[in-house]
C-alpha cells in the first residue's frame, strides 16, 4: 500500500516543508487509481478512435467530406431541428410549469403529474406511435412534434422546481411598487427561473442532437440518421467517422455552454428555511378555460396520441395472433444484456466515483471528466467507433456481447459514476478513518465500510443503468450479436418494414419498462416535481438518461 510508505529521498534529506507534502496521506491508493484510469481510458476510447479513424485516408479526405454541400446542409438541418425543438420545449415547459405551480387551476396536481409523464415514453417509441397513426406526417413536422413532446419535461421539471423555490415575496414587492401582473411576470418571475430554464433548454438541445431512433423512424435526415446511413452504405466508414466527429464537436460545444450557464445559476436568498407559498394567481373564467385547454392539448398529444395509437395497433396485432414467443425471447435477451451492461458499468464506475468523492487534485478531476465523456457522445457515434475499433483490433468480440456491454458502459458511465460519487460523498470520511485506526487496510475499508454505507445509492444507480440499457437503441442496433434481437431492435426492425401491428407489443413493453424508473424517481422525491436544477453535479449528469435512452 502506498500509505505504509517508507523513505523517499526528499523527505530524509530536506528538512524544510516541501510543497505538496501535506497531501501525501491523501494520495489515492494505486488499487483504486489504476482501475479508475482504466475506466477513464475506456470511456475515451470511442472518442479517440473516432478521430483516428476520420483521418484514415489523410487530411484531404476529411476536408473533402467537410466541404461537401451536403455536410453543411446537414449541420444546419440538425441545428435547425435542435433550435426549433428547444424553443418549442421552452414555451411548453415554462408555461406548464407556471400553470401547475402558480396559477389557480382545477386539478393542478393531477396536471403536474400528467405533464411529466412523457418522460416515460422513449422518443423512438413515440415516433413509432405517431408514424403508425399518421403515416404521411411530414418528416420535419413529425420530428419537431415528437421530440418537443418527449423533451419539454426537461424544461418543465427544473422550472417548476425553481418556481416552487422562488420567494413569492419578490413578486409581492414588485406589485407593491406598482408593477402590473404581466410586467411582474416578465421582469421578476422569469428572471428567477431563467437559470433553470437555460439548463433545461441545453439538455433538450443535447438530446435532440444525439437522438437517433425518433429522427430515423420519422425519416428526418438529421446527423445521426445520415451517419447510420453512410455507415451502412460504405465499407471504409471515413465519411461516417468524419460526420460523427463533427457531431461530437457540436455536442461538446453545447455541453460546455451548459457548464458555463450552470456556473452562473446562482439565486441569492437571505435567510434560511423554505420560502412561503404564494397565493395562486386567479386567471378568470376565460383564462382558466384557455389554460385547461392548453394543458389538455399538450397532455393529449404527448401521452394520449401515443397511447391511443399503441392501443389500436396492439388490438389489431393481437387479433391477428400475438407472437408471444418472440416477445419473450427478445425480452429475455434484453434483460440479459442490460443486466450485464449495468453490472459492468457499475463495476467500472465504482473506482471513479470513490476517487471523485474522496480525493482531490487535477489528475482525479481529469479521470472523472473522462468518465463523463459518454454524456456528450451520441449512442450512434459510440457504437460506430466501437465497430471500427473491434473490426481492426478486437475482431473476436466484434458483434459479440462484450462489445455491446462496453458500449453500454461508455454511454451510461455518467449516470453510474454520478450515483456512486453522490452516495459515497454522503457517507462521512471519518468512518473510513476510524476503520483504518481499527486495523483495516485501504481496500478493506472500501469493501467493509465505504461501499456498504454507499450501497443503496450505488444499487439505485445500477438499477437506473439497467433500465436505461433496456431502452437503448442505436448502440444495440449496431453492436448486438448476429441473430440476437432486443425489444428495441425488434421495434426498430418491424417499424422499418411498416409492420406496425407486429411492433406494438415491443413498444408497449418498452413503455412499461421506461415507466418504472420514472415512477420510482417521482416517489423518491415525495410526489413533488424533481428539483433538477439544484441537484448535485453527479445527479445532474444522470438526468438526460432518465427518461429517454431512445436516442
Amino acid at each position: 500500500m502506498t500509505m505504509t510508505s517508507s523513505a523517499t529521498a526528499d523527505e530524509s534529506t530536506v528538512p524544510a516543508t516541501p510543497p505538496g507534502r501535506s497531501t501525501r496521506a491523501a494520495r489515492p491508493p494505486l488499487a483504486l487509481l489504476v482501475p479508475a484510469v482504466v475506466t477513464a481510458a475506456l470511456a475515451l476510447l470511442p472518442l479517440g478512435y473516432l478521430g483516428v479513424r476520420a483521418f484514415d485516408h489523410g487530411v484531404g479526405e476529411v476536408v473533402d467530406v467537410l466541404w461537401r454541400d451536403r455536410t453543411l446542409r446537414l449541420v444546419l438541418r440538425s441545428l435547425g431541428l435542435a433550435a426549433a425543438v428547444t424553443a418549442a420545449a421552452l414555451v411548453v415547459g415554462v408555461s406548464l410549469a407556471w400553470l401547475t405551480t402558480r396559477a389557480w387551476l382545477p386539478g393542478r396536481r393531477t396536471w403536474a403529474v400528467l405533464a411529466s409523464l412523457p418522460l416515460a415514453v422513449p422518443s423512438y417509441v413515440a415516433a413509432y406511435a405517431w408514424v403508425a397513426a399518421f403515416p404521411r406526417i411530414p418528416s420535419f413536422v413529425g420530428a419537431l412534434l415528437v421530440l418537443t413532446l418527449c423533451c419539454y419535461p426537461y424544461v418543465l421539471l427544473p422550472v417548476a422546481a425553481a418556481l416552487q423555490r422562488a420567494d413569492p415575496a419578490l413578486e409581492e414587492v414588485s406589485a407593491a411598487l406598482g408593477r402590473g401582473r404581466l410586467s411582474t411576470f416578465l421582469t421578476v418571475t422569469l428572471a428567477q427561473v431563467r437559470a433553470a430554464a437555460a439548463a433545461g433548454a441545453l439538455l433538450v438541445a443535447l438530446y435532440v442532437l444525439s437522438d437517433f431512433g425518433a429522427v430515423a423512424i420519422l425519416r428526418f435526415d438529421a446527423f445521426t440518421r445520415v451517419i447510420y446511413a453512410s455507415y451502412r452504405s460504405s465499407f471504409d466508414g471515413v465519411t461516417a467517422a468524419v460526420l460523427g466527429s463533427v457531431l461530437v464537436l457540436v455536442t461538446v460545444a453545447i455541453v460546455a455552454a451548459e457548464g458555463r450557464s450552470r456556473g452562473r445559476a446562482q439565486q441569492a436568498r437571505i435567510g434560511a428555511g423554505a420560502p412561503r407559498r404564494g397565493a395562486p394567481v386567479r386567471l378568470g373564467t376565460v383564462g382558466t378555460a384557455g389554460a385547461l385547454a392548453w394543458c389538455a392539448l399538450v397532455v393529449g398529444l404527448g401521452i394520449g396520441v401515443p397511447l391511443a395509437s399503441l392501443g389500436y395497433w396492439l388490438a389489431r396485432g393481437s387479433s391477428a395472433g400475438l407472437q408471444l414467443g418472440e416477445l419473450a425471447i427478445a425480452a429475455g435477451a434484453t434483460v440479459i444484456v442490460s443486466a450485464l451492461g449495468a453490472l459492468a458499468t457499475t463495476l467500472l464506475a465504482v473506482p471513479v466515483g470513490v476517487l471523485a468523492a474522496r480525493y482531490r487534485g487535477s489528475g482525479v478531476r481529469l479521470v472523472e471528466q473522462a468518465a463523463y465523456a459518454g454524456h456528450a457522445l451520441p449512442g450512434i457515434v459510440v457504437a460506430l467507433s466501437l465497430v471500427f475499433f473491434a473490426v481492426r483490433f478486437a475482431y473476436p468480440i466484434y458483434q459479440q456481447v462484450p462489445l455491446l456491454v462496453i458500449a453500454y458502459a461508455v454511454l451510461f458511465l455518467p449516470a453510474a459514476v454520478g450515483a456512486v460519487r453522490a452516495s459515497v460523498a454522503l457517507s462521512p470520511p471519518v468512518l473510513e478513518e476510524v476503520a483504518r485506526s481499527l486495523g483495516r487496510r485501504p481496500l478493506q475499508v472500501l469493501r467493509d465500510v465505504t461501499l456498504p454505507v454507499a450501497g443503496p445509492g450505488v444499487a439505485a444507480g445500477a438499477a437506473l443503468v439497467f433500465l436505461t440499457c433496456m431502452k437503448e437503441l442505436p448502440a444495440t442496433l449496431l453492436l448486438r450479436p448476429t441473430g440476437m434481437e432486443t425489444l428495441a431492435t425488434e421495434l426498430w426492425g418491424q417499424t422499418q418494414v411498416g409492420a406496425y401491428a407486429a411492433a406494438a407489443p415491443y413498444a408497449a413493453a418498452l413503455v412499461l419498462l421506461a415507466a418504472v424508473p420514472t415512477y420510482l424517481l417521482s416517489r423518491q422525491s415525495g410526489g413533488e416535481v424533481r428539483p433538477v436544477g439544484t441537484a448535485g453535479r453527479g445527479v445532474r449528469a444522470a438526468e438526460p438518461h432518465v427518461g429517454g435512452a431512445g436516442r
Binding site: 523517499t8 523527505e11 485506526s437 450501497g455
Partner: protein
C-alpha cells in the same frame, strides 16, 4: 499500555507560498495509563495534532513514538491500521450499517469476536445487552460510549478522543464524561483528549497540555496549570484571571492592589502580575484598596463581581469571585479589596500582548 512521546512535531498545510504552518514544534509526553487533555482555542491545531498521531496525516518533521516504537519520523510513516491507536471522533461516527456489536467487533479478529470481547467492552462502558441495536436507535451519549468501546476493544496502545462531548447537551455531558473517564481508567488505557473546553480539560484529565500557536505552551497537572501558569497566554486562557501592571522586586511585586507576594523568584523589573478572582476578597469600604463595583454576574454556585480601582492614570478593572449570590452589591457601591495568596509574575510582555 504505552507512553506516547512527541518530539519536535511540525506540520503545515498547503504548498509553496500558500503554506500555512499548523504545528510548529510540538513536544509532549503522555505517561502510560494516564489521560492527557490537549486544550486550545479553535484553530490552534489540536485536531491536526490528533490526526497526525493517529496517522491520518503525515508529519513534516518530528518524531512520534509509542512505547519506544517509532511510528512517525522523517522517512517513516506507519499507516493508521498498524499503529494500534484507537480513535473516538466527534459525534461517535458509528458505522451506520452495522449493529452495536458489529461496530465494537470491527477491529477484532474473528476469534476474539467470538471469544466474548465485545460483551466485555460493552460492559466496561455500561451498555451490556445493547449489542443488537442499530446506531440510530441509540441516544447521543450511548453512541459516544459505543464509539469508545469500539476504540478500546482491540486493546490499543493509545486512545484519541476528538472533542467527544461537544455534541452532547450540557446536562448529559458531565455524566458521559464521568462514564468515559471511568471506562478509560478501568481499561488502563493511555488516552489523549482534545478539547476547547477548559472546564472539561481541568476536570477530567491527569495532565493538561495547552496548545497555543502550534506549540505546547505548558503541560502539567490541572491544579498546577491553574495555579502556576508559565506565561500570560496560559494564565488568561485557563480560568479567569486578574491581570495587573506590576514591578517586581525580589519575591514581591508592586501592583495597583498593593505589594503582593510572588510565587518563586523572578528577575526584577516591570511586567504583569496575575491573580485568580477567588484570591480577591471584598471588605468594607475604608479597609484594603478602595474600589467601585461596576457590575455582577451570578453563576449559581458563585458570582463574579467586576470592580474598578480609580487610579492616577487609567482606571484598573479587576474581578472578584464570591460564594453564592452577590446580594447587597450594586453598581456604584464603594468597597475595599484584600488579596490572599501569591501572584504569578510575568516579565515585560512583548508589545501587543495584553
Amino acid at each position: 499500555m504505552s507512553t506516547l512521546l512527541v518530539r519536535g512535531l511540525e506540520k503545515a498545510y498547503g504548498s509553496g507560498r500558500d503554506t500555512v504552518p499548523v504545528l510548529r514544534g510540538v513536544n509532549l509526553e503522555v505517561p502510560a495509563g494516564s489521560l492527557t487533555a490537549v486544550l486550545g482555542p479553535s484553530g490552534c491545531g489540536k485536531t491536526t495534532l490528533l490526526r497526525v498521531i493517529a496517522g491520518f496525516e503525515s508529519a513534516d518533521i518530528g518524531v512520534l513514538s509509542l512505547d519506544g516504537r517509532v511510528v512517525s519520523a522523517p522517512g517513516t510513516h506507519v499507516a493508521p491500521e498498524r499503529r494500534r491507536v484507537g480513535v473516538v471522533p466527534q459525534e461517535g461516527a458509528l458505522f451506520p450499517h452495522l449493529t452495536v456489536a458489529g461496530n465494537v467487533g470491527f477491529g477484532l479478529s474473528r476469534a476474539s469476536r467470538r471469544g466474548g470481547r465485545v460483551g466485555e467492552v460493552l460492559d466496561l462502558v455500561g451498555l451490556r445487552g445493547f449489542g443488537d441495536r442499530m446506531p440510530h436507535e441509540l441516544s447521543g451519549g450511548q453512541q459516544q460510549r459505543v464509539a469508545l468501546a469500539r476504540a478500546l476493544a482491540p486493546g490499543p496502545a493509545l486512545v484519541l478522543l476528538d472533542e467527544p462531548f461537544a455534541a452532547l447537551d450540557t446536562g448529559l455531558r458531565a455524566m458521559v464524561r464521568e462514564e468515559v473517564r471511568r471506562a478509560l481508567r478501568a481499561a488502563g488505557a493511555t488516552a489523549v483528549l482534545v478539547t476547547h473546553d477548559q472546564e472539561e480539560a481541568l476536570s477530567v484529565a491527569d495532565q493538561v497540555a495547552v496548545l497555543s500557536r502550534g506549540r505546547i505552551a505548558q503541560a502539567a497537572a490541572p491544579a498546577r496549570l491553574y495555579r502556576e501558569p508559565v506565561d500570560l497566554d496560559v494564565a488568561t486562557f485557563v480560568g479567569d484571571a486578574v491581570v495587573l501592571d506590576a514591578v517586581a522586586c525580589g519575591r514581591h511585586a508592586d501592583t495597583p492592589l498593593g505589594r503582593l507576594p510572588l510565587r518563586g523568584a523572578v528577575p526584577s523589573g516591570p511586567g504583569r502580575a496575575v491573580l485568580r478572582p477567588e484570591q480577591v476578597q471584598l471588605v468594607r469600604p475604608g479597609s484594603g484598596v478602595a474600589a467601585v463595583v461596576t457590575g455582577t454576574t451570578f453563576y449559581g454556585h458563585d458570582a463574579v463581581v467586576r470592580l474598578r480601582i480609580p487610579g492616577p492614570g487609567d482606571d484598573i478593572d479587576v474581578a472578584a469571585r464570591r460564594q453564592g449570590a452577590p446580594e447587597g452589591l450594586q453598581a456604584g457601591d464603594a468597597v475595599g479589596l484584600l488579596v490572599h495568596g501569591e501572584a504569578s509574575f510575568f516579565p515585560q510582555p512583548a508589545a501587543g500582548v495584553r
